[in-house]
Symmetry: C2
Subunit: 195 residues, 2 copies
Amino acid sequence: MITAKAKKGERKREIAAKATELFRTKGYAATSMRDLAKAMEIEAASLYSHIKSKEELLHGICFRMADTFFAAQKEAASPELSATEQLENAIVAHVKVITDDVAASAVFFNEWRHLSADPLAEFKKLRDEYEAIFRAILAAGMQESEFRTQSVNFTTLTLFSAMNVIYTWYQPEGSKTPEEIGREISRLLIYGLKD
Amino acid sequence: MITAKAKKGERKREIAAKATELFRTKGYAATSMRDLAKAMEIEAASLYSHIKSKEELLHGICFRMADTFFAAQKEAASPELSATEQLENAIVAHVKVITDDVAASAVFFNEWRHLSADPLAEFKKLRDEYEAIFRAILAAGMQESEFRTQSVNFTTLTLFSAMNVIYTWYQPEGSKTPEEIGREISRLLIYGLKD
DNA sequence: AATTTTTGCTAACGAACGTTAGGTTGTATA
DNA sequence: TATACAACCTAACGTTCGTTAGCAAAAATT
């Protein structure tokens, strides 16, 4: 039983990994179960020995990523630091999650809207909660005049868009580490192009 | 003939507008011609009196937007200005195009990958050419030490992601004009949060 | 008044979709 | 060695997909 348990669900993870790749390149709606089956070199019907539905795959990717993002923030949080340092830490943590799995990140950012009503609502709630972490840091920094005062909402969205585009170009073999990328984004956002 | 010519293709434009809305909210692949027909309050087959195919709609949206972006840059270009001013002008021009039609922008940014091979290749070429405009301004600014030297590629992508997220929250009735939004992004990117 | 054009319909096509049912095989556990 | 189960198969289901054919009414043009 021990060996069996160790291997339990391994095939399912392989399928999830291939699905992530396909959802990333073709999009969830444009990826058919037959596409996925072909990539796995089995028949479409065989997929259902391992998964319950197509949406289960999307659900798994989106919510696993959400968990990972939250966990990273929890670990990176240091309320005693300055807003600038808190922001930098939060950015680096966020970037690391993205670079850790760019395919899953792409699906997380672009395909969540294809979740059905209930998971969709839950997903949005989590997303708002997560955004609130950054919003709070920015608001605190402006309160204490550490940051120039401007719309927190606008700044948060700009910050996220700057971070969340990374999955489109990051390569593990590239010249920059996730840490360096995070620092660079921090610097660009905090000090600007002129500094 | 004058009246006829003036109204020629009007229905087609109505269909294109509705398609843009649907492609934006549901995505191209997840939007069926029957969805579109229902939104137009006609039968699906009737759509084909006005259009050739579903892809023609996507093609129209993507390439019309591409043209508009290029035209805006051409008008905004002032080679005699400093890199900082050139960049600010280019950003404002880009933002104005987005705010002018947020639905079409959303489709332009997210759904182009569903174009078939030939138009897809053409689209990517245009996209690269357009990006090169900004890339050149940034490179010139760094050359003349007007901007801090760092990866042009990284900076360009960050800049675009900051601009291209606007369609997700911009409202014409909102408190900020497109011009103000453009200036704000410029300021954030050029001078940073601290300035 | 005759005509062309626009706009829409019903009916249907073949293909692809997600998924289920029921069965076979090989491997690991008891 | 008997048993359980993971892994995959073929066949097929009902549905939806983009699209075509052929026709009818209405509106605009001549």
